[in-house]
C-alpha cells in the first residue's frame, strides 16, 4: 500500500459559506440545493466559527470493519473507502463505526452516503474561496517517485534523522541516470555517496571535487559534454560551507558566467561532519564547536550570510529556497531548476536541519523543518530574472519564533536580547525580500 492523497479542512479559516456543500450536492445529485445530498457537512460552531463532518478515508476504517455485507472496502490504489451500492443492505452498522459523522444515512437519500473524493478531483475543494478545504496530493508524488530507481546505494551512513540523505535520494530519482554529480567535501560525501571501501555510493557518475573548485570543475565537465553534443545534467550536491565559504568564489563565477549547471546547497548551518564548526551560514546565536557558549561568548556573534539572496543578485536563470516538508513545492522547484539549468545557472537552496549538530531528537527533523518555515525563520520563494521574486508560501501569519528556537538545543542558552535581535533580523530580511516582488 502506498501513500494516499487526502482532503484537508482548516476550521480556523472556514467562512461557513456552504459553497462546498452546494458543489458536493450538485456533483452527487445534480441539484445544488439538496444539502442532504452533500457528503461534506459544514456545521456552525458559534461566534462565526465552523466545523466539518468529512470522511477521513481512515487507514484502519471502522466503517469497513463493521460492514457485514462487504459493501465497504479500503481501496488499496486510491486510499478511498469505497461504497458498493449493490452489496449494501442499509443496516447502518457503518454509521456506528464512524466517529466523524462522515458515513451517514439520510432518509431523503435512502441509503448511506460518504465522500468518494470525486475520484480524486473533489468538487468541494475547487469552490472553496477561503482555502479552508484542500486536497493534498503530496502522497502521489511519493508514490510516483517511489517507483523511480533510487540511484544511491542502500545504507548510506548519514546520521539518524538526517533529511539530506532523504533529499538527495529524491533529487536523483527525479534527475535520473543521465547526470554527472559533483559532491564536494561535506556530509553528503561523508555519508558515503562518493564511495567507501572501493565501492561507489551512487549508481551514476559522481566525483569528489575540492571545496574550492566544485562549480568550476562541474562547469568544465558540462562544457566538454556540450562540445561532444551530449545533453548531460551537471549537478552539484554541496553543503553550506562548500557553497557560501570556501567554494563561494567558483560558485559566484559560474553563476556570473551563466554556466549550465544545477547547484544544490544543503544548508545545515555549519561544518557538521567535521565536528560542528560554524560556517558563514550559521545563524546568529547558534552554539557550534567554534562559537561556544561560555562566560564571554554566547554562541555565534554574527548573522548568517543569506546565500540564496546573494545568488539571486547574480541574476541567475533560477534561484529558489525549498524545504523537505513541502515536497510538492520542492518538486515543482526542482523541475524548474532542472529546466533552467539547460540554458543557464540554476541554484536551489534546501534547508537541512541537523539533529546531531543542532541538538534536537532525530525523530523531530521534519517537525523542525516545518517550524522553521512556519515561524518565518526561513521563507520559501523562487526567483527568475523574468518574474522577479515570488513567495511560494505565505509569510503573513508566522508561528512564534520562540516555538522554533525552543525546539533546538543550539539555541537553548539564548538571552531575550539575542532572541529580539533574531526577530529583528528576520523582519528586516523579509521586508528586503518583499522588495524583490514585482
Amino acid at each position: 500500500m502506498g501513500a494516499f492523497n487526502s482532503l484537508t479542512y482548516n476550521a480556523t479559516i472556514c467562512l461557513g459559506c456552504g459553497e462546498c456543500m452546494m458543489a458536493c450536492a450538485k456533483a452527487k445529485s445534480g441539484d445544488a440545493d439538496r444539502f442532504d445530498q452533500s457528503r461534506i457537512k459544514i456545521v456552525p460552531a458559534g461566534d462565526n466559527k465552523f466545523e466539518a463532518a468529512l470522511c477521513r478515508q481512515c487507514g484502519d476504517a471502522k466503517c469497513v470493519m463493521n460492514c457485514p455485507a462487504g459493501a465497504l472496502t479500503k481501496n488499496a490504489a486510491s486510499g478511498v473507502v469505497d461504497w458498493n451500492a449493490d452489496l449494501c443492505v442499509s443496516c447502518l452498522l457503518c454509521t456506528v463505526g464512524c466517529a466523524y459523522g462522515s458515513i451517514t444515512f439520510e432518509s431523503s437519500v435512502g441509503h448511506v452516503a460518504k465522500c468518494d473524493t470525486c475520484g480524486g478531483d473533489p468538487a468541494c475543494v475547487k469552490v472553496c474561496k477561503s482555502g479552508a478545504l484542500g486536497y493534498v496530493t503530496t502522497a502521489s508524488i511519493y508514490n510516483d517517485y517511489g517507483k523511480q530507481e533510487d540511484l544511491f546505494a542502500p545504507g548510506l551512513a548519514a546520521c539518524q534523522g538526517c533529511n539530506s540523505e532523504l533529499m538527495i535520494r529524491h533529487v536523483l530519482r527525479r534527475v535520473g541516470r543521465n547526470v554527472v554529480v559533483a559532491a564536494p567535501p561535506g556530509c553528503i560525501p561523508g555519508m558515503g555517496t562518493v564511495g567507501y571501501n572501493g565501492k561507489a555510493g551512487a549508481k551514476v557518475p559522481i566525483f569528489h571535487p575540492l571545496l574550492t573548485n566544485t562549480a568550476s570543475m562541474l562547469a568544465g565537465l558540462k562544457r566538454t559534454y556540450e562540445r561532444q553534443g551530449r545533453d548531460v545534467t551537471a549537478l552539484a550536491l554541496a553543503g553550506d560551507g562548500g557553497a557560501s565559504d570556501v567554494g563561494f568564489q567558483s560558485l559566484s563565477g559560474a553563476a556570473e558566467r551563466g554556466e549550465h549547471i544545477l547547484f544544490l546547497c544543503f544548508d545545515n548551518e555549519g561544518y557538521m561532519n567535521t565536528g560542528m564548526q560554524a560556517s558563514s551560514a550559521t545563524s546568529f546565536g547558534s552554539w557550534t564547536s567554534t562559537t561556544p557558549v561560555g562566560d564571554k561568548l554566547q554562541g555565534k556573534r554574527t548573522d548568517a550570510k543569506n546565500l540564496p539572496m546573494v545568488m539571486m543578485m547574480h541574476n541567475a536563470a533560477y534561484v529558489a529556497t525549498a524545504s523537505s516538508v513541502f515536497m510538492e513545492d520542492f518538486y515543482r522547484k526542482l523541475d524548474k531548476a532542472l529546466a533552467a539549468s539547460k540554458q543557464g545557472f540554476a541554484y536551489l537552496h534546501l534547508y537541512a536541519p541537523c539533529p546531531s549538530g543542532w541538538r534536537f531528537p532525530a525523530s523531530l527533523t521534519i517537525d523542525v523543518c516545518r517550524l522553521m518555515v512556519e515561524s518565518n525563520f526561513v521563507t520559501l520563494w523562487e526567483y527568475t530574472p523574468e518574474t522577479g521574486l515570488v513567495f511560494t508560501r505565505p509569510t503573513d501569519k508566522p508561528k512564534p519564533l520562540e516555538s522554533y528556537l525552543k525546539a533546538i538545543g543550539k539555541y537553548r542558552h539564548l538571552a531575550q536580547e539575542q532572541v529580539d535581535r533574531i526577530k529583528k533580523l528576520l523582519e528586516d530580511r523579509l521586508a528586503m525580500l518583499k522588495r524583490f516582488v514585482r
Binding site: 471502522k62 457485514p68 455485507a69 447502518l92 452498522l93 456506528v96 464512524c98
Partner: protein
C-alpha cells in the same frame, strides 16, 4: 501436525479483526484461521438479507481466498474445535486433526439458545445463526404459508419481516409487552409495531409457548397457533463445550480482562464468546453485537502480536441500528428502554403522525443514551460522546435540540 504462531478459531468479525491487527505488525509468522463453517467468512448479521434475497449468499464473503493468500493466512474450513490443551499449545479439532500453536484466540461467537419447551424435540424448527441456517430457512419458506416466530428481539423481528415480505402469514410470540424489549421503550416500539401490524404480522405479547406439537404451538393462555414453519429466536449464548477440561475460566462467556486475555497466558478470547466489562454498568457480560466483536477482536490481535498501540477495551456499550420495512431505528447506550432512572434528564420527542421518535438521556450533562425512530442520528458520534464522557454543559440546549449537528461539531473539535 500443523503448527503456527497464531491460531484464531472463528472466522467472523472478531477473528478477522484480530487477523488484520496481527498482519499489520507481523506479516509473515504462520497464522491459521479456522472455522467450523464450510463457507468463506461471512457475517451472521447479513443472514436476514440472505433470507430475503437482497443479498446473494455467494456475494456475502468478507474475505476472499486471494486475500488469505496475499496475507499468508491459512484459512481452514470445516474445522470444529473440540478441545484445548493450553499447556502443550495444542488445539484438537473434529476428524482427529490437531494444531500446535504459540498463541490462541477463541472467537467462536455465540449460538442460538433454545428454550425448554415441552415437545420441542418432536417438531422441526429453524434458527438463524449460520449461512446454512439462512439457506435452510429460505428453502423452507417456499413451501410454507404460516410462520411462527418465538422471540421479538432483533433476529426474530428481522426474520418475521423477511417472511411477511415473502407473502407468509406471520405470528410473533413474545413474553414481554413490546417488540425489541431492552432496546426501545414502549413508545418507540409502538411505531415499529405499527409497521409490523401494517404488514399483517400478528404480535402476541405477554405470552409464551407452553408446549409444541407438530404443526401447532399451544400458548400459555391456552390458544393454539398453527404453523408450517417455526423459527426460534429467543436469544443466543456462547457454545463452549470445547473448553471442558481446558482450565480456561468461563461464566456466561469466556472470562477475559480488558486486554481480552483469558486466565491462561497464551489464550485470548473476543467477540460474542467473551464475557467483558460493561462500560455503563457494574460487572461483566457478553456484548453480543457486531461493533463490540470488531473492537475486541482488534484488541486481542494487537495483544497477540505485542502491538504497542494496543489500548484496553473500555467496556461494552450497547449500539444497535435496526432497519424495518424501509424505516430506521437507532438505540445507543443505556437508560432508553425503560422508565427514567433517578438523576437522569430525558428529552422525548414523539410524533405519532410523522412516525418519528427521539429520546435523549443525560446524566450530569453527559450523554447516557439515545434512541430514535426515523430520526437521523450519528450513532458512531454518540458512542464516542458516551465513551469520552464529554461534558455537554456548554452546548446542552443545542445538543438536545439538534443532536446530530451538535454531535458533529463536537467530534470535529474533539478530534483535533
Amino acid at each position: 501436525m500443523q503448527s503456527c504462531t497464531y491460531l484464531i478459531v472463528g472466522a467472523s468479525h472478531a477473528g478477522l479483526a484480530a487477523a488484520d491487527a496481527i498482519r499489520m505488525i507481523d506479516p509473515a509468522s504462520p497464522l491459521i484461521l479456522a472455522s467450523r463453517d464450510s463457507h468463506l467468512p461471512y457475517s451472521p448479521t447479513i443472514l436476514p438479507y440472505v433470507v430475503s434475497g437482497r443479498s446473494k449468499a455467494e456475494r456475502t464473503a468478507l474475505r476472499s481466498e486471494a486475500f488469505f493468500k496475499e496475507k499468508s493466512i491459512t484459512f481452514l474450513r470445516q474445522a470444529q474445535l473440540q478441545s484445548i490443551n493450553a499447556e502443550k499449545g495444542l488445539a484438537h479439532f473434529d476428524q482427529g486433526t490437531s494444531i500446535r500453536f504459540d498463541k490462541l484466540l477463541l472467537a467462536t461467537g455465540a449460538a442460538p439458545s433454545l428454550p425448554a419447551i415441552p415437545g420441542l424435540g418432536d417438531v422441526a424448527f429453524h434458527v438463524l445463526r449460520t449461512m446454512d441456517d439462512a439457506l435452510g430457512l429460505k428453502t423452507a419458506m417456499k413451501g410454507a404459508r404460516r410462520a411462527l416466530v418465538l422471540g421479538a428481539g432483533l433476529i426474530g423481528t428481522h426474520a418475521a419481516e423477511n417472511m411477511a415480505e415473502a407473502g407468509m402469514t406471520v405470528s410473533i410470540v413474545e413474553p414481554q409487552m413490546q417488540l425489541l424489549p431492552g432496546y426501545f421503550d414502549s413508545q418507540a416500539s409502538s411505531l415499529i409495531e405499527k409497521a409490523f401490524e401494517g404488514h399483517g404480522i400478528d404480535l402476541k405479547f405477554g405470552r409464551s409457548v407452553a408446549s409444541l406439537k407438530p404443526g401447532v404451538a399451544v400458548l400459555d393462555d391456552g390458544q393454539d397457533v398453527p404453523f408450517d414453519l417455526l423459527l426460534i429466536a429467543t436469544g443466543v449464548r456462547p457454545a463452549l463445550s470445547y473448553l471442558d477440561g481446558s482450565g480456561i475460566r468461563i461464566d456466561r462467556g469466556i472470562l477475559v480482562d480488558e486486554r481480552q486475555r483469558t486466565n491462561l497466558p497464551a489464550v485470548w478470547a473476543a467477540g460474542d464468546c467473551a464475557q467483558v466489562r460493561l462500560f455503563q454498568s457494574e460487572g461483566t457480560g457478553v456484548a453480543g453485537i457486531l461493533p463490540m466483536a470488531v473492537e475486541q477482536g482488534r484488541i486481542a490481535g494487537q495483544g497477540m502480536v505485542d502491538d504497542e498501540g494496543q489500548k484496553p477495551f473500555p467496556g461494552a456499550v450497547s449500539l444497535n441500528t435496526y432497519s424495518f420495512f424501509g424505516q430506521q431505528a437507532i438505540s445507543v447506550g443505556a437508560g432508553i428502554s425503560g422508565a427514567d432512572s433517578p438523576g437522569t434528564e430525558t428529552v422525548l420527542r414523539f410524533d405519532e403522525g410523522a412516525k418519528t421518535y427521539l429520546r435523549l438521556v443525560l446524566k450530569e450533562d453527559r450523554l447516557v443514551g439515545a434512541a430514535s425512530v426515523n430520526h437521523p442520528l450519528d450513532p458512531g458520534i454518540l458512542w464516542q460522546l458516551i465513551l469520552r464522557q464529554t461534558d455537554l454543559s456548554d452546548v446542552k440546549e443545542r445538543f438536545l435540540a439538534d443532536p446530530k449537528t451538535t454531535g458533529r461539531l463536537l467530534m470535529s473539535r474533539l478530534w483535533r
